[in-house]
Amino acid sequence: MKRYIVFLKQVPRSTRVEIDPVTKTLKRSSALTQTNPDDLHALQAALDLRQNTGAEVVAVSMGPASAEAVLREALQYGADRAVLLSSPAFAGSDTWCTSLVLASAVRRIGDYDILFFGRMAIDGDTAQVGPEVAGQLDIPQVTCLSSIHEVKGNWLVADKKAGSLLQRVEIETPCAVMVSRENGELACPTLSGWRRAQRQEVIRWDEGDLQLDGKVVGLYASPTKVVSTDVPQTAKEIRWLSSGSSVAEIIDKCVDSLS
C-alpha cells in the first residue's frame, strides 16, 4: 500500500499583535492556536489522492505538547496515524534543523511515496521547510503545486506554478509536494471521523526515537541565530498638506525629476 506523510504545524491564531509602547514588547491578548491553513490543504490533497490510489495517510507535527491538537484535527479529517515530534531538544530549531528532524521522522516511518507540505506557515513565512526536507532526503520536489493530475505507477503527473511559469511535470516517487490555499476547498471532518479519532493514539517521538543526537538539533545547532529583535523605526517627520494644489506640486516635481 502507498503511504503519504502530511506535515502540519501549530501556529498562533493571529499574527496581528500589538507592541507595548513602553516596554517595546509584544502584547498578545491570548495564546490561541490553530493548524496552519496551507497545511490543512496539504492534508486535503493527500486524502483526495488516497481516494483514487488507496494509501495510508500519516500526519506528523513537530512542536510543543500542545501541538497534539493539530494532529487530533488531522485524525478527525481522516488521517490514519499521527506522530508528534516533541522534545525540549528541538526548541529553537531554525528551518535547517527542523527539516533534519522531519527528515529523520520520515526515515523512521519508512516506505513512503509522497510527502505533503503546506507551502508556507503564517507565523514564519519562510516557505523553506518543505524544499529543505526534500533536499535532506534527496528526493524530487514540486514547489507550488497547482494540481495533481494523475498517479501512474511510481510516477506522479502534476502541474506546478513558479510565478508566471507554469509547468506540467512527471515526477518519480518518493517525492515531496508543497500545497497552498489556492489548491481548492477543504472538506469538513465527519462525525464518524471525529468518533474514530477519539479512539486513536497520537504517537510521540523525541530525539532518541529518531536516533538523533540532541546536540545536532535545536537552538544551539541551528546555523542561523536570531541576534536581536527590534521594533521597526517607522516614525518619519511628516509634513501636513491642506489642499489638492500642494499634492499636485509634489507630483509635478516628481514627474520633472523623472523626465
Binding site: 519562510t126 529543505e132 513558479a162 515526477i171 537552538l219 521597526p232 501636513w240 509634489i250
Partner: protein, 400 residues
C-alpha cells in the same frame, strides 16, 4: 514542568522582581508564574520574547559553551548574487541584489560576483557587470534550458562547493525560494527567508540578515556564524539597484559543464509562461494606491483618469481587492507585490502593517486619509487629512 538545567532558557531567580511580564508576553503559554517564572521546556520555543520583556534581566537564553567561537574551517571569498533570468531577461531583483552586494562589499572587501544559470543566459553577463558584478560565473547547458529545481540546485551546489563564496544572495521570488531552500539543505547551511535589509556586522564581518517577524511587527536580525555560505533570500522590490555603468569591466568565467546531467526523476511535459501583469506595477515610478476609503467603482475610474495624467499606475490594498475595487494582481502588500516607486500616493488606505511592509522601498509617500491617527501617516512624508471624495474633487478640479 521541567527543571532541566541544560535547557537554553534559564531563570535567574535572584534577579526576578516578580512582575510577571514574562508570562504575559509568552505566546506559547510556556511560563507559569507563581513567585518566580517556571519554564515549561516542552512548550517553550525559545523565541526570546520573555527575555526582551523582562526589565530585570532575570531571563537568559544562554549561549552554548562550545560553538560560540566556532568559525568555518575553510577559506571563503566572494559575495555572490544568484541572478535570475526569466524569458531571456534579467529579473529586476537581480539588479537590486547587486546594488546591495556592492554596498556590502565596501565593508567586507570581498568581490561581488553574479551567477547565471540556464540554457542560454550569457547575453545577460554584460548587464550584470554594468550593475556592479566584478565577475560573472556562467553555468550554461542545454539541459538547463528548462527551470527544473533539482537540476539547478545540483549544479549550483557543485559550483558553490568548488568556489566557496562567503555570502550567497537569492531573490525571494517564486523560483528563488524553493531553489534556495533545496540548496541550503544540500549545502548544510543556514538560509534566512525574505530579508528586507542586509548589512555587515563591523565587529565580526558577518552578514546581518534582517527580516520582518511576527507579521512585520518586529524586525529580527539574524546571523549565520559558523556555516558557509551565509545564505539569504531577499524580497523583490525592497532594495535599490544602482545606476548601470556600461563602461565597467568585469571578468566572465564559464563553469565546467561536462558533468551536467538532468535528474531522471523529473520529466518536463510542457511549459507555458503566463503574461505577467505584475511587472508594470513593480517597475512603475509613480503608484497610486487605493484602499477602503475609496467608496465606489466610479471613484476608482476617476482616480484612474487622474493618475493617467501623470503616468501613474493604480494599485490597491487588500481591503480594496476584497471590496472588488481593484484586481488581485494589483495588490500591494505582504500577500501581494512589494514596490519601490519614487512616489506612492495612498488614497483612503489606513496603513495596516501588511500593506506598509511592502512599501519599504518607496522614496516618497503622500497619504490621504480623513483620520489623522491612521497608521499610514506614520510612514508618510506628506499627509493630507481629508476624505478620498474631497481629495478627488480638489485634485481633478485643479487640472495637472
Amino acid at each position: 514542568m521541567n527543571n532541566d538545567t541544560s535547557f537554553a532558557l534559564r531563570v535567574l531567580k535572584e534577579r526576578c522582581t516578580g512582575c510577571g511580564l514574562c508570562a504575559d508576553t509568552c505566546a506559547y503559554n510556556a511560563i507559569k508564574f507563581a513567585d518566580v517564572p517556571e519554564i515549561d521546556s516542552y512548550a517553550c520555543r525559545l523565541c526570546g520574547s520573555c527575555v526582551q520583556a523582562c526589565p530585570a534581566g532575570a531571563l537568559q537564553i544562554s549561549e552554548p559553551e562550545t560553538g560560540k567561537t566556532a568559525v568555518p574551517q575553510e577559506e571563503t571569498k566572494g559575495i555572490w548574487v544568484l541572478a535570475e533570468v526569466e524569458d531571456g531577461c534579467l529579473a529586476p531583483v537581480a539588479r537590486e541584489l547587486l546594488g546591495k552586494a556592492v554596498v556590502l562589499s565596501e565593508k567586507l572587501h570581498h568581490d561581488v560576483e553574479a551567477v547565471l544559470i540556464g540554457g542560454n543566459v550569457s547575453a545577460c553577463a554584460s548587464e550584470l557587470i554594468a550593475y556592479g558584478a566584478r565577475r560573472v560565473r556562467i553555468v550554461e547547458h542545454e539541459s538547463l534550458a528548462a527551470f527544473i529545481e533539482e537540476n539547478y540546485a545540483c549544479e549550483l551546489v557543485r559550483l558553490v562547493r568548488e568556489c566557496r563564496p562567503e555570502i550567497l544572495l537569492v531573490g525571494a521570488t517564486p523560483r528563488g525560494r524553493g531553489l534556495s531552500a533545496r540548496m541550503a539543505a544540500l549545502l548544510q547551511t543556514g538560509l534566512t527567508a525574505d530579508c528586507t535589509e542586509l548589512d555587515i556586522d563591523s565587529d565580526t564581518g558577518l552578514l546581518l540578515q534582517i527580516r520582518p517577524a511576527f507579521g512585520g511587527n518586529l524586525m529580527a536580525t539574524i546571523k549565520t556564524p559558523a556555516h558557509r555560505p551565509q545564505m539569504a533570500s531577499v524580497r523583490p522590490g525592497v532594495m535599490k539597484a544602482s545606476e548601470p555603468d556600461y563602461s565597467r569591466s568585469g571578468e566572465v568565467v564559464y563553469a565546467d559543464v561536462s558533468k551536467v546531467s538532468s535528474d531522471r526523476r523529473i520529466r518536463l511535459i510542457r511549459e507555458t509562461v503566463e503574461a505577467s501583469c505584475g511587472d508594470s506595477l513593480e517597475n512603475s515610478r509613480i503608484v497610486v494606491g487605493i484602499g477602503r476609503g475609496v467608496k465606489s467603482l466610479d471613484m476608482v475610474n476617476r482616480i484612474r483618469e487622474w493618475a493617467a495624467r501623470f503616468g501613474a499606475v493604480v494599485a490597491g490594498s487588500r481591503a480594496a481587492v476584497e471590496a472588488g475595487l481593484i484586481d488581485a494582481h494589483m495588490q500591494v502588500g505582504q500577500t501581494g507585490h512589494a514596490i519601490s516607486p519614487d512616489l506612492y500616493i495612498a488614497i483612503g488606505i489606513s496603513g495596516q502593517i501588511q500593506h506598509t511592509a511592502a512599501l519599504a522601498g518607496a522614496k516618497k509617500i503622500i497619504a490621504i486619509n480623513p483620520d489623522r491617527t491612521a497608521p499610514i501617516f506614520g510612514i508618510a512624508d506628506y499627509g493630507w487629512a481629508v476624505s478620498a471624495e474631497e481629495a478627488l474633487s480638489q485634485l481633478t478640479a485643479g487640472g495637472l
